[in-house]
């Protein structure tokens, strides 16, 4: 257990609100290996984003602990990359300058970082846009730039909080493929929060399923589908089996009650 790359044990987070204590996270136990693509799947309000913020060291828990690469977390660890639902690009910087803000914050070598930034921008189809302003780009392109910003510091752990939640379905498919491509190249440990069952199955090695009230892990599903997965993978019987399995799970805990 001590050997796992990211270890979350007995992690509980309780907010106190005027109407009593809110259990945002209830005794979470998780072990994640280096290089794994893990999705955290759950309905909105199940605490999955809170869990991600805690893993990032941005918030602390009430009980339990998180160990990353052997060290107990106390604030954001070194070598973290984070992508949020909104791209969070700032309007006063060009796309390249937005990506380079990572290098400034992490105090990296500017020359090397710039080379890496240009390589990433090209990889994500943003070559020729590096001197554009964020508002001149589409939502999908902006989110691509945000991913480049997270990757430019060559993070050991990449955390993504519903990164494609605000995009249209087609752009989302594109970005799913691009993310898989870059992950297969770099094999970074990736924690991906989503509320889309299809997206979780498509991308992950493992899907951690969370329920709401109480906010806890109810299932840990390994996805055994060959990589690289393509859009036609989603039409395969095995893929459908996983989706149905997860849906049934949510029905059991009362998420799809209305259906």
């Amino acid at each position: 257990m001590m050997d796992s790359y990211l270890n979350i044990s007995e992690f509980t987070k309780v907010y106190s609100s005027p109407r009593g204590d809110v259990h945002a996270l209830e005794r979470i136990d998780l072990d994640i290996d280096e290089g794994q693509f893990v999705s955290i799947l759950g309905p909105s309000g199940c605490g999955k984003s809170t869990l991600l913020k805690c893993v990032a060291g941005l918030e602390s828990g009430t009980r339990g602990q998180i160990r990353f690469d052997g060290e107990v977390l106390d604030g954001p660890p070194q070598g973290l990359g984070m992508v949020f639902q909104r791209d969070l690009l700032v309007d006063w910087r060009t796309i390249l300058e937005n990506v380079m803000i990572t290098a400034e914050f992490m105090e990296l070598d500017q020359k090397i970082a710039k080379k890496e930034a240009m390589r990433l921008l090209e990889l994500f189809g943003l070559a020729g846009f590096e001197h554009h302003r964020p508002w001149e780009l589409s939502g999908g392109m902006r989110q691509r730039a945000a991913i480049c910003r997270a990757l430019v510091g060559n993070p050991r752990l990449l955390l993504m909080d519903e990164p494609f939640g605000a995009l249209d379905a087609m752009t989302r498919d594109e970005l799913n493929l691009e993310l898989q491509h870059i992950w297969l190249q770099s094999k970074k440990t990736l924690l991906f929060v989503t509320h889309s069952i299809q997206e979780a199955v498509f991308l992950s090695d493992r899907v951690i399923v969370m329920s709401r009230n109480p906010a806890r892990v109810i299932e840990d599903v390994r996805i055994d589908l060959p990589r690289p997965r393509t859009l036609s993978t989603r039409g395969s019987a095995a893929f459908g089996q996983y989706v149905i399995e997860l849906q049934t799970l949510f029905e059991r805990v009362g998420v799809f009650k209305g259906e």
């Binding site: 941005l58 973290l80 309007d91």
Partner: protein
């Protein structure tokens, strides 16, 4: 040639409106036969100005200097206060509350007090200016520094960015539009403050010239000063506007023309991404 004509459209419209107003003023005076000691005609006003331009120039400069000096000090103090208020809850509870309370006080009432404290030189005039001009700056800056997206801060914190960098690279640029709109209000108020100061404690400047002319029942001279104050006010306001265009060209209020500049042939390439 055509381009120059098109690019000056805003300026030409403005000029036409001003000339129209002056013409209307002249016509009213002529048609209504208004006596000169009540409303002098624009021609009379201009004639009065051209008799001793260096006198008016000198007084305008004095007013401009006090306004700009007071405004500059208010800006400096306002920025320091705002950063303090943002960074310390204690300062926010004490200073910010106090400032908001003081803001509801009519600052004109303070002017005589400043004369008692600082005498009748430019110090007391600048004190009036600062007391009026500082509020919009503090309120604008504090609002701007506060209305930052918490996730933007989270993003920076996840990269272990030092607090100083977060302030200068995220909070401050984000606050600039709000600070600049505070400055626009503030610069106009600075001119008001200067005239109030000159009314009470001055032997030079347009404000004291107005007061002296009133004593002599020289309405024409009062009008010259009022027109000059209008010109000064417009210059000061547009100076801030220019600074704004330079500092925040990325802001939605300044970028309409730039949006069309994004080359359309690139947009096609973007969709053919890595895969």
């Amino acid at each position: 040639m055509l381009r120059i004509w098109q690019s000056t459209e805003a300026a030409r419209t403005f000029l036409a409106v001003i000339l129209g107003c002056i013409l209307l003023w002249e016509i009213c005076v002529l048609v209504l036969k208004l006596p000169e000691f009540l409303v002098p005609s624009p021609v009379t006003v201009f004639h009065e100005f051209s008799k001793k331009p260096e006198f008016y120039f000198k007084n305008s400069l004095s007013t401009l200097w006090v306004s700009l000096g007071g405004f500059g000090l208010a800006l400096l103090a306002g920025l320091v206060l705002s950063i303090g208020i943002i960074r310390s809850i204690w300062l926010e509870r004490t200073l910010y509350t106090l400032l908001v309370g003081l803001n509801s006080l009519p600052k004109v009432a303070l002017a005589p007090l400043f004369v008692i404290w600082f005498g009748t030189g430019s110090t007391s005039k600048m004190a009036v200016v600062i007391s009026i001009a500082i509020f919009p700056i503090v309120i604008g800056t504090v609002l701007g520094l506060r209305s930052i997206d918490p996730d933007l801060i989270n993003m920076a914190r996840a990269m272990r960015a030092p607090q100083k960098q977060i302030l200068w690279k995220l909070r401050f640029p984000q606050a600039l539009p709000s600070l600049l709109s505070g400055m626009k209000v503030s610069i106009s108020l600075a001119l008001v403050g200067t005239v109030v100061g000159e009314f009470i404690a001055g032997n030079n400047g347009l404000g004291s010239t107005i007061l002296a002319a009133q004593g002599a029942f020289d309405t024409t001279q009062v009008f010259v000063c009022i027109v000059l104050l209008g010109v000064l006010g417009a210059i000061l306001f547009y100076a801030i506007d220019l600074v704004e265009r330079y500092l925040i060209p990325w802001h939605p209020s300044h970028r309409e023309h730039k949006k069309c500049a994004a080359s359309p042939q690139h947009t096609g390439n973007a969709t053919t991404a890595v895969v």
